[in-house]
């Protein structure tokens, strides 16, 4: 995961200005902001509204609609864990129980010792589930050991960044 930088208003303006000329620039702008800062700070709402000539409610509404956009700085790194049908058929729910039991992490339950696991619905590797996505990489054919290794890796990354 690219290291994110703390909130910087000038940088936010630059990011927005750079992409404002695109047709339907809102999503590219929000993605770019989230990539830089790790989340979409609410201070960008009036900025985007002004640049794109929209109301603040339209900007807020867009941010809140999409699962991907986070509005608070994330603590820890997120593992996206697939719970769609094909992974369920390969035992993803048992692995989710294992996560809760062994690591104390509940799916979508927020940060736990620097580890966050979010539900995903399909990562497109349905013949090799259960699957997870972490740090832009996909991990397939997960079993308890594989998941433990992934959790260890995600937790250690937090320590390294701190």
């Amino acid at each position: 995961m690219a290291t994110t930088i703390p909130w910087d208003e000038t940088l936010a303006w630059d990011t927005i200005s750079e992409l404002r000329g695109l047709e339907g620039a809102m999503l590219p702008i929000l993605h770019a902001l989230q990539e830089k800062f790790g989340y979409v700070d609410k201070r960008v709402i009036p900025m985007i509204a002004k640049v794109l000539n929209l109301s603040r409610s339209e900007v807020f509404g867009t941010i809140s609609f999409y699962h991907d956009f986070k509005t608070v700085p994330p603590e820890g790194h997120a593992i996206k864990f697939c719970l769609a049908e094909a992974c369920q058929a390969r035992g993803a729910e048992r692995l989710a129980d294992h996560l809760a039991r062994t690591h104390g992490v509940k799916l979508d339950g927020g940060d736990h010792n620097g580890l966050r696991v979010e539900t995903a619905y399909c990562l497109g590797n349905c013949g090799l589930g259960p699957n997870a996505l972490y740090d832009g990489q996909i991990f397939g054919a997960l079993d308890e050991d594989g998941l433990d290794a992934l959790c260890a890796r995600a937790s250690s990354k937090v320590g390294a960044n701190a």
């Binding site: 047709e23 809102m26 999503l27 999409y66 049908e85 094909a86 619905y121 090799l128 996909i138």
Partner: protein, 518 residues
């Protein structure tokens, strides 16, 4: 002499350690003083064999798989570079039964070529479709698409020729072509494989579409869950621009076509075409009421051709060989081939491209080899989370749009998910409502409220509360959602629910009644 080895870069292969295998090959070759070139190809689609690597030998490409990084020294010891014997040796991959019996029109290159090599692409029929298209009038291109009988591969199965003609005939100063790559259905991954395995094919298809309908701008809307696909397509678009297939004068003097990749933000509903258009416009992805249809008033209110990845990816073949060559495959009103995606609890999962008409049983048993767990197949869900659950007795249904509809089922995007006998179908029915509640855009009441109430009602059924009354209530709710929802999300959520109820009624009986019956 340089040793050439193919190691797939498809996400399936990466998910089980293809990068580690590539590194191990480099390391081990260096230690042995061998010159080695690693080529990252797409996946052949036999995911249980991934990472499936191929050594280029005097006898052709010899496959080995599934290879772990730790297998590399023993492979080189066994002289795999000359096709030597090894427990993981598969032989020439294209000669394997699983590959040989497919009818790969869209996936013809995938797994064979380096996805980003323009030379590979050209050497294997790449750009011939576009060249053929540019030598015809746009109306003739549309006519070839009509003749092909191609129907929308996103799930709805709408005849592509009619859609293309509508956009072609629309009068406007500006038109768009949009590719729907928001492949959110569980059990589907063909779009992803196209992006990662043959992105130029999609670019070529988009260019042909732009030329045919008179659009100078194309958008590809890709879901955010596919980072590898995004990376591959970004590189491919850049290379295609440099090569002059895209950009200024792409279709001859004064005829421009530019293509842009846009990334979604984790909303399943964006696979619905009008929701996708709203999202592209930068808004909350609320489904639009139709009419007006996007072909007349789509992106930014302009006539817009919006097609699924697999529809667009079929276009270069159709233009190169003529619509009739494509229509020669298939059955009834389902013409051509469909890349079926086999997943879930399946022994041999992956991608199988076949003409319409093959039965579900052939796919699940012959290609898929039954369940991965070795237990009996109990349920097969076809067509993603909004598709029906079929039971063993239904498996002889031919995979064709009409034959599936006759079973109150649908083909959707060709995803086939297998469950063994440990599945609890009441739980799966509950999950269908849960998923709908989570992913509904919220615009129409039947979907927004119905999904929540449905989940609650299934909870009661599972808990054994007033089971018969609650089943009747669920059926009533399903009728309302199917009739009253604005789009397929609410309208088709009843399909998995009712198919589970109708085909697996024993899973909905309260535990006490079940015990008494036994």
């Amino acid at each position: 002499m340089t040793l050439r080895i193919f190691v797939p870069c498809d996400a399936s292969a990466l998910s089980v350690g293809a990068d580690a295998v590539a590194s191990a090959l480099l390391r081990e070759a260096e230690a042995r003083g061998l010159n080695v070139e690693i080529i990252r190809n797409g996946s052949h689609g036999m995911v249980w064999l991934e990472p499936l690597i191929e050594f280029v030998t005097p006898q052709g490409r010899i496959g080995y798989g599934p290879v772990k990084a730790g297998d590399v020294p023993s492979l080189l010891d066994a002289n795999a570079q000359a096709g030597g014997d090894h427990p993981l040796r598969l032989g020439p991959v294209l000669e394997l039964d699983w590959m040989k019996r497919q009818q790969r029109l869209t996936f013809a290159r995938i797994g064979i070529t380096d996805p980003l090599s323009l030379d590979d692409y050209r050497a294997r029929d790449g750009l011939k479709g576009l060249q053929a298209a540019l030598s015809m009038s746009p109306a003739d291109v549309v006519e070839q698409v009509r003749i092909s009988g191609l129907r929308g591969r996103g799930g709805a199965g709408f005849p592509a020729g009619i859609k293309w003609k509508t956009v072609h005939d629309a009068e406007s100063d500006k038109k768009y072509v949009v590719c729907n790559a928001d492949e959110g259905d569980s059990g589907t991954f063909a779009d992803r494989m196209v992006f990662e395995g043959d992105p130029y094919m999609l670019i070529e298809g988009m260019a042909i579409a732009g030329y045919a309908v008179g659009a100078d701008k194309g958008y590809i809307y890709l879901r955010s869950e596919y980072p590898h696909a995004a990376k591959a397509m970004t590189s491919a678009i850049r290379a295609a621009e440099q090569a002059g297939w895209l950009g200024k004068n792409a279709f001859g003097a004064g005829k421009h076509f530019s293509l842009e990749l846009r990334i979604g933000a984790g909303a399943y509903i964006c696979g619905e075409e009008t929701s996708l258009l709203e999202s592209l416009e930068g808004k909350r992805a609320l489904v639009r009421a139709k009419p007006p249809i996007p072909a007349l008033s789509g992106l930014f209110g302009k006539p817009t051709l919006i097609n699924n990845v697999l529809s667009i990816a079929a276009i270069p073949f159709i233009l190169q060989h003529g619509g009739q060559a494509y229509a020669d495959y298939g059955m009834g009103r389902s013409r051509g081939t469909l890349p079926f995606q086999l997943g879930g609890n399946i022994r041999y999962g992956g991608l199988v491209e076949l003409a319409f008409g093959v039965t579900l049983r052939e796919i699940v048993e012959t290609w898929g080899g039954g369940t991965a767990s070795g237990r009996p197949v109990r349920a097969v869900q076809v067509g993603g989370p909004l598709g029906a659950y079929l039971a063993d007795k239904d498996l002889d249904t031919p995979l064709d749009y009409e034959a599936m509809a006759a079973q109150q089922a649908m083909l959707g995007h060709g995803g086939i998910v297998v469950f063994d006998d440990s599945v609890d179908m009441a739980k799966m029915a509950r999950f269908a409502f849960h998923f709908c509640a989570k992913e509904s855009c919220g615009k129409c009441t039947p979907c927004r409220i119905g999904a929540v109430r449905g989940e609650e009602t299934l909870d009661k059924i599972i808990a054994g509360e007033n089971v018969e009354k609650n089943i009747a209530l669920t059926r009533d709710l399903c009728e309302l959602m199917a009739d009253g929802s604005l789009c397929a999300m609410g309208g088709l959520t009843p399909m998995p629910v009712l198919s589970a109820l109708n085909r697996f009624p024993e899973d909905f009986k309260p535990a006490t009644a079940q015990a008494a019956a036994e």
